[in-house]
């Protein structure tokens, strides 16, 4: 019986695994840090149902799968409704609330959100704000995270404040990854292997296979990281 149970487990695990993979792709991308409480509970429930589908051999697989499908279906419908109707979005996900305005704590809002002053201070500290006077606005987001706008006198100086001109700094393009040249990216930059080899030689690299990562920035500077970095002294952070 044990061996046959193992076969069944493997089949059911494959069904659970790939079903979950497909369903999560359907539900789309959402950052874990931006999950609302409902999203969080939804994720736990879906995961738990998938887990019972795999391990609960006392019941057949279909009811679990249908349960999973129904939960994901409802979640998908909620997402569609939230995207289409603003009111539905407010109802499902809630709204951000201002908890500090002009440096003053909004007690009524805090009470309504069941958010304590300790929670607020803790979140401010995690954003390197130890003095509440520095805060112009603080918004409690739907995920429970806090977004802070500091008063202008406490904000860091930017090049714009000093009327300094800055160069355009776009995305870097990876040209070599794990010892392999990404031909498509090289072509996209209107560059060729000859140019690449000459640049690598300048960095003391004789062969592409020695490079872990090479990327080109918008200024035309090539960054090269070799597998062997030949560092004389390594910083050791362990005790």
């Amino acid at each position: 019986m044990l061996i046959s149970e193992v076969y069944v487990e493997v089949v059911r695990a494959a069904i659970g695994f790939f079903t979950l993979l497909i369903f999560t792709r359907v539900l789309g991308k959402q950052q874990v840090s931006e999950l609302t409480v409902f999203d969080y509970i939804l994720g736990i429930t879906i995961g738990s149902t998938a887990s019972s589908l795999t391990t609960d051999l006392t019941s057949s697989v279909l009811p679990h799968w249908v349960g999973l499908l129904t939960w994901v279906g409802f979640a998908f419908l909620m997402q569609l409704a939230s995207v289409k109707w603003r009111k539905a979005s407010k109802l499902v996900d809630g709204e951000p609330s201002v908890v500090i305005m002009n440096g003053m704590i909004m007690e009524d809002t805090m009470r309504k959100m069941r958010y304590t002053v300790s929670d607020l201070l803790e979140q401010l500290r995690s954003k390197d704000i130890f003095d509440i006077k520095q805060v112009e606005f603080a918004v409690l987001e739907r995920s429970g995270e806090i977004s802070v706008l500091k008063k202008s006198q406490y904000q860091p100086v930017t090049p714009n404040d000093l009327n300094l001109n800055t160069k355009y700094d776009g995305l870097q393009t990876v040209i070599i990854y794990d010892g392999k040249v990404l031909e498509q990216n090289l072509k996209h930059l209107n560059l060729d292997r000859v140019w690449l080899q000459s640049e690598l030689t300048r960095h003391g690299v004789s062969d592409v296979s020695q490079v872990l990562l090479a990327s080109l920035d918008t200024q035309g500077t090539l960054y090269v990281d070799k597998y062997r970095d030949h560092l004389v002294k390594l910083n050791d952070l362990s005790d």
């Binding site: 019986m1 046959s4 149970e5 076969y7 069944v8 089949v11 059911r12 069904i15 790939f18 079903t19 497909i22 792709r25 051999l57 006392t58 019941s59 057949s60 697989v61 279909l62 799968w65």
Partner: protein, 131 residues
């Protein structure tokens, strides 16, 4: 060049939809295989028929016939379980096999009532399997 690229992108898009749909289709087929295949397996291995034969044997107190047919039923069920086990409740199958063990015990003791009770329960488990 552009046309080939567009064609490739289109076929890539189709396969990105087709593969998950195919996978879900296969999973669904595996999951409903129990209830769907139970009927044909019953016919192929004469399971319901054997239940009836055992019942007749027990009522006629044909103990050797009942024992032989219970043995046949066990083999038939084991063969069917090899296919059904991926989609039905394992507990239901285990209970059915335990019923057969008890029937064999009652047959040894020439206890018609006990054996018939177990037989009816076993038949109930078979009927409910995958439902």
């Amino acid at each position: 060049m552009g046309l080939t690229k567009r064609k490739n992108a289109k076929s890539q898009k189709i396969s990105s939809y087709l593969l998950p749909i195919m996978l879900l289709g296969i999973f669904l087929a595996v999951m409903v295989s129990g209830p769907v295949l139970k009927g044909p397996l019953d016919t192929r291995h004469h399971i319901s028929q054997t239940f009836a034969v055992i019942e007749k044997d027990l009522k006629e107190k044909n103990w050797s016939g009942a024992a032989a047919n219970t043995h046949i039923l066990r083999s038939s069920l084991n063969e069917s379980f090899k296919i059904l086990r991926y989609s039905v409740e394992l507990d239901e199958m285990a209970d059915l096999i335990i019923n057969l063990d008890r029937i064999e015990g009652y047959i040894q003791a020439n206890d018609e009532k006990g054996a018939l009770g177990e037989l009816y329960e076993a038949r109930g488990h078979w009927r409910e399997l995958g439902n």
